[in-house]
Symmetry: C2
Subunit: 284 residues, 2 copies
């Protein structure tokens, strides 16, 4: 057993999948879940993602060897001051938040001597959310980014790295700012573009109800991407606003270039753009 | 048999699927394919999408009762003058082109008395292209838009409508300009946005090769949408430039609004945008 007691704060898709994966791989003696109401926690218990639960945060993290924060970013910020004072000496606190710089600053400021914070982010997910969608193998083959700082305890980092590897993930170490810039490009920007596209089409459709009914392939993929949890994405935007706004600017420049080719009837320019995009898929 | 001889000009994914569907449903006595080189046509023959082929356009359409144009838009414009003079009296000419207004103008100007043009567009496709990807049931449950004008012969329209229905499609009649505006929104805009996003990410990645390697879900869906045939999309852009540029403008306004919410940290505005997009998926 790597840890005697693991506490999962927020037992949804990610937290629940971590619980199932830990149970499957025999990583903890016991897994405690925390949530605001008992309904979801009863479901998590029934699905075998946790062994017990608490509705009081200080009770939930009491005596835990590893505490995993997997609520939306905004909630993590609110919960930190109610968790950290109750951690036992030697406890490791980690998270699965989609942005890292601001969270690490907040956590490191609050952490006393002898308890350790390691920022983390598994690049894994599903369309569906909630513990009902949790999977024991969600992290198998997925990458998990850990973002140590100069203040990070090395033993704690090694233990958190081993933890993710034991549940099937490949761990990548990265500076928190680099993580946030990287995710802004590969995840946050695509989601912002999908949300804007779906809303633009819906607004254009107000004048012509046939549009969405006639839609096929391409547009329907966008609606799937743009149906991710609204609160989670709100919090990601608030906590990584500068990087996201910056990559939206860059995207807008590329779209403007394409629009100019269309307006000027530049056949060669258009074909070049489309062929370049096709090559990216071939690289994957 | 609805038609004695059907000629399919361009036996790729769509043309090949029409051939397979016609054979499966016993719609023609014989199906002739036309292409520029024999390699693809031999493949189409082998797959059973056509019964024979010709490398000379006038020969291919000679004595045909129905001629289906399924080459990229730019090629259709070049082929029209080499097809129309060789059509027999009573022949019906139709197409599967993704934009309609300019093609219909060109076709109607060239059509002599006694042969009939009906513009069409099946809303169906696959990621893969070429006759190897053709499916007999590609049009089952898909919508096909026909765009009659005041010059369209009604009997020809009825026959083309029955043709698409016999191979499983639901036919929607629409004005050509309305078709082009509609497709600009539900198909051309999503593709332009996907192409621009994939190219923007690739350009940002020049400074950091880890990016695309770390990408998951969302971005990979975009690369799939943005790997459609470059020549086909070049021609769609050239033949529907005004409508596409117009909807890109509208999209840019919505993305700008979202970017402003991000820059100003407007939590409520962000959540409202994301929830609105989620509702669109629920409507589908």
């Amino acid at each position: 057993m790597s840890f005697k007691k693991i506490t999962i704060v927020g037992v949804g898709l990610i937290g629940g999948s971590v619980g199932l994966a830990c149970k499957k791989n025999g990583i903890a003696e016991s897994i405690t879940g925390f949530g605001r109401t008992s309904a979801h926690l009863e479901k998590a218990l029934e699905l075998g993602a946790i062994d017990s639960y608490e509705l009081e945060l200080s009770q939930a993290v009491n005596n835990a060897d590893l505490v995993l924060l997997s609520t939306p970013m905004g909630t993590i910020f609110e919960q930190l001051p109610h968790i950290i004072p109750h951690l036992k000496p030697g406890a490791v606190l980690t998270d699965v938040g989609s942005t890292k710089t601001r969270l690490i600053e907040a956590a490191e400021e609050l952490m006393p001597q002898g308890v350790y914070f390691v920022g983390g982010h598994p690049i894994a997910g599903r369309e569906s959310s909630g513990v009902e969608a949790a999977l024991a193998n969600l992290f198998c083959g997925a990458k998990t980014i850990l973002t140590p700082t100069t203040a990070t305890n090395n033993d704690a980092l090694v233990r958190v790295k081993a933890f993710w590897e034991q549940i099937g993930s490949q761990v990548v170490l990265m500076d928190a700012e680099q993580h946030d810039r990287t995710l802004a490009v590969i995840s946050h920007l695509p989601h912002m573009v999908a949300y804007a596209l779906v809303n633009a089409v819906a607004e254009l459709d107000n004048h012509d109800n046939q549009l969405i009914a006639l839609s096929a392939g391409g547009f329907r993929d966008f609606t799937r991407i743009a149906s991710s949890d609204a609160v989670m994405w709100r919090d990601i935007c608030l906590s990584n606003s500068q990087a996201i706004a910056g990559v939206i600017d860059r995207f807008q420049q590329v779209l403007d270039r394409l629009k100019q080719h269309i307006k000027s009837g530049d056949a060669q320019g258009l074909q070049k753009e489309f062929e370049a995009a096709r090559r990216v898929k071939q690289k994957l």
